[in-house]
């Protein structure tokens, strides 16, 4: 009852451009689609989703409603979608670490590869390793050398175990055979604050959170994810000996396995149109988010690779 009031508020706010009158067609989608986010409000997924769902109704001719279902590190929302009817009306907006890594860390009541099919990878965020501007570590190798000389002496603040900052940190540790003292914080914001206040020696961040600090001269970037340089004078992970799909957070929309092809095709088409929408590109640009659409089958191949890499990582870290 109240949800419908809230929906009306959202409608009145000019969010949903779609004509509800056309909803009488027996063609998908004939009612609003729910996008479940397995995290709390205010995070980068929430923000990305707010932009997507305020524009995509134009192309779906239906509203898309965000439902935040945080809990158990993302498992609560994920399980909800795994159990939902595979009719295309309940989708999950997640990222690769929750999607593919969590299954190796704990018992999850679903199988990511067989219970879900990817619809669209909307974008990805490459991570950067950063220190304070007054840090003694001028280069990535300085940092590695210090960690090598006194293992565990370098404190790295991250956004929670097996999260988007922890996993690349662990991958770097394995790739370069060093060890950081990984200290968890409740989110990327507090982790950055710990770096600035001196509680941590190094942290990581995505372009949207880093750029303000870089411009203000508060932090120095030592390396960025991938093979292409993000900054002219900063080496990539590949250049400093950290190879592979390390440090990319893929934001991906998945549906329960068995969702009708017609629904998948409609959604895929809507996303292809969405990324051409000028309001969408302008909003994402302001958020400092890239738009790098990958369709379901292409991303599925990436998921299968992630499954292998993450299993290996978890086995090595937990010593199994």
């Amino acid at each position: 009852m109240f949800t419908s009031i809230l929906k009306k508020v959202a409608l009145a706010g000019g969010l949903v451009v779609s004509a509800l009158g056309t909803a009488a067609w027996a063609e998908y989608p004939e009612k609003p689609i729910t996008m479940v986010i397995p995290f709390g409000p205010g995070g980068s997924h929430d923000l990305n989703a707010r932009v997507i769902t305020s524009i995509i109704p134009t192309y779906l001719e239906q509203a898309m409603i965000v439902r935040l279902t945080p809990g158990a590190g993302g498992q609560t929302g994920t399980q909800e979608v795994a159990n939902a009817a595979a009719d295309g009306y309940t989708l999950l907006f997640t990222h690769n670490y929750v999607d593919m890594l969590q299954q190796y860390v704990t018992d999850v009541p679903y199988d990511p590869l067989t219970d879900f099919v990817p619809i669209a990878r909307v974008n990805y965020a490459p991570i950067g390793v950063v220190v304070r501007a007054d840090s003694p570590y001028e280069t990535f190798d300085d940092l590695i050398a210090a960690a090598d000389a006194d293992p565990g002496s370098i404190r790295m603040s991250h956004s929670g175990n097996w999260g988007a900052l922890f996993v690349p940190a662990a991958q770097i540790m394995l790739a370069r055979d060093i060890s950081f003292n990984l200290v968890p914080y409740q989110g990327g914001g507090p982790a950055m604050q710990a770096l600035l206040s001196g509680d941590a020696d190094v942290t990581m961040g995505f372009p949207s959170t880093l750029s303000g600090q870089i411009d203000a001269g508060e932090i120095r970037v030592l390396a960025t994810a991938g093979t292409d340089r993000m900054f002219d004078d900063v080496p990539t992970f590949a250049e400093v000996g950290v190879e592979g799909d390390v440090g990319f957070m893929h934001r991906v929309l998945v549906a329960p396995a068995g969702t009708p092809d017609e629904a998948v095709a409609k959604l895929t088409g809507a996303f292809a149109e969405l990324i051409e929408d000028t309001t969408f590109t302008r909003m994402m640009g302001r958020l400092n988010e890239s738009i790098e659409l990958l369709d379901g089958p292409t991303y599925q191949a990436l998921r299968e690779e992630q499954a292998v890499a993450y299993k290996e990582l978890v086995d090595q870290l937990t010593g199994q």
Binding site: M1, F2, T3, L6, V9, A10, G13, G14, L15, G40, P41, G42, G43, D46, L47, R50, V51, T53, S54, V66, L68, T69, P70, G71, A72, G73, Q75, T76, V105, T106, P109, S153, R155, N161, W162, N181, V183, P184, Q186, G187, G189, P190, M192, Q193, A194, L196, S197, D199, S208, T209, S211, G212, Q213, D215, A216, E218, M283, R286, L287, N288
Partner: protein
């Protein structure tokens, strides 16, 4: 800087800003008054509206939703003993007693006036002292947070209820309940007995409604022969004399709330409880607290609203959101092309001041909107008991369910309701349990972080590097003084 301030002051005085703030306040108040709908969720849903508005309109609109929502949460707390958030728990204690005494309108008025006062003073203070506050914020890391949380818990246990030992038992129970679920640091399941739903921990909302509202409903139902009503009249409005009587308390709570707002990670729940405890402790008549004391409402509401100003500081000065509310505001900022960060003040000083001024305007507008709306809310108690009781019960269940549409939460609601009844019969106050539960998670997290930071050498780390140990040592005299004052005030033979 002064130029920016003056420009910003002028920028905020726009008719559309005023109108959107009012819309936000009113909407936020309605959403906040419905159990199960959090202010945070309302802000997240309304966030995209701000994308398409001018920054000086869109961001104040969201701030309006936030401020309206916090007050809205106090409405069911006062009228039907149903606090929807931890911040309203302290308010519900005296507020509901006043409603039973037929003074609900007075109670709501006091909640409004002290909220607006606390908020306005803290916002103004923040505006004037933004850089010193920014410096202070950076001094608090996990060890300090742990120490302050521990101190808060001890103060709550020592000051709540008539029997500190019973309070301590309940608090330990609350702490234990907070440990159920996935360990926040290591990710290991604890006390879940293999139940998947318990992995994300015990949800707060069913606990709040269960232990506070269900026993009150049962109380009314079971004594229907004595014509016990929830209440029947809404009574008079608050008088200036009554406000004046509580003014010292309001000022104290405002100071406490502002101070707590500076410490990242503490928040409104701690502020409300500390404000309440301090007022009770300083009072000549502490026995009236919990029995329908207007001062109790004033103490809790001024404190939890005073948190608002300083929590904005890390966002405005560093571009770092300290909690979920500021994280949503960060989204509104960046979508507007305002990039929060250390350079924001240099580039957009006037806009930042305009937003801060809009916060103060929102408070003043809220005084008017709230004052005009209170009679409508207060009228709720005039509904016949035979209708009101089922209605409240429906809201209790619907509110619990709607929060995340999980049937498991309803089981929790009933379980906590039964527990609340038993605790009441055994004369155990449930408040320390709820506080232990709410503060247990951040306490444990801060402890885990401290252990990680020390890298195995925790004690050396604490004593050589950090203020944490100092704060723990400070706690002992504070508690000693409080206990001594309390015991010396009790009439002879009562303990």
């Amino acid at each position: 800087m002064l130029d920016d301030f003056i420009t910003g002051f002028g920028m905020a005085f726009r008719l559309d800003t005023f109108l959107m703030i009012s819309a936000g306040l009113f909407g936020g108040m309605l959403v906040g008054a419905l159990p199960g709908f959090t202010t945070l969720l309302a802000m997240a849903i309304l966030l995209p509206i701000s994308f398409f508005l001018d920054p000086i309109v869109g961001i104040p609109f969201l701030l309006g939703v936030y401020k309206g929502g916090i007050f809205g949460g106090s409405i069911p707390a006062i009228l039907v003993s149903m606090p929807g958030t931890g911040a309203a728990v302290a308010t519900s204690r005296d507020g509901y007693k006043l409603t039973q005494q037929g003074k609900s309108r007075k109670a709501l008025d006091m909640a409004l006036c002290s909220s607006v006062f606390g908020d306005t003073v803290s916002d103004t203070f923040t505006m004037l002292m933004i850089f010193p506050i920014a410096f202070l914020v950076m001094q608090f890391g996990p060890p300090e947070l742990f120490a302050v949380l521990l101190l808060s818990l001890v103060i709550i246990a020592a000051t709540s209820g008539k029997n500190p030992l019973k309070a301590l038992v309940m608090m330990l129970l609350g702490l234990w309940l907070s440990f159920i679920g996935t360990d926040p640091i290591g990710g290991v399941d604890r006390f879940t007995f293999g139940v998947f739903e318990l992995r994300s921990g015990i949800p707060l909302l069913p606990m709040l409604i269960g232990v506070f509202a269900i026993p009150e409903i049962a109380n009314v139902v079971m004594r229907s022969d004595k014509v016990q009503k929830l209440a029947s009249v809404m009574g008079e409005r608050l008088t200036f004399v009554e406000f004046r009587r509580c003014f010292r308390t309001i000022c104290r709570s405002t100071a406490i709330g502002t101070g707590i707002g500076v410490i990242p990670g503490l928040g409104q729940v701690v502020a409300a409880m500390m404000g309440y405890s301090a007022a009770k402790n300083a009072s000549d008549h502490p026995e009236t607290f919990g029995e329908g004391e207007l001062e109790g409402i004033a103490a809790a509401e001024a404190a939890n609203n005073a948190v608002n100003g300083p929590t904005m500081v890390p966002l405005l000065t560093l571009g770092i959101p300290g909690d979920n509310v500021t994280a949503i505001l960060l989204g509104a900022f960046v979508a507007q092309g305002l990039r929060p960060g250390p350079q924001l003040f240099e580039e957009q000083g006037a806009t930042v001041f305009a937003i801060l001024v809009a916060m103060v305007i929102a408070n003043l507008l809220f005084l008017i909107i709230g004052y005009l709306s209170i009679p409508f809310f207060a009228r709720l108690v005039q509904i016949k008991t035979s209708v009101l009781v089922p209605l409240v019960l429906m809201f209790a269940f619907a509110g619990t369910f709607v929060f995340r549409s999980d049937g498991f939460d309803l089981i929790m609601l009933v379980a906590f309701g039964v527990f609340g009844l038993i605790a009441r019969a055994a004369k155990f106050d449930v408040m320390p349990m709820v506080m232990g539960f709410i503060l247990g998670s951040p306490l444990e997290y801060a402890f885990g972080q401290t252990l990680s930071m020390g890298n195995g050498a925790t004690w050396e780390f604490l004593f050589s590097e950090r203020m944490g140990a100092v704060t723990v040592l400070l706690a002992i005299p504070v508690i000693g003084i409080m206990l001594w004052r309390r015991l010396s005030k009790l009439p002879a033979g009562s303990h």
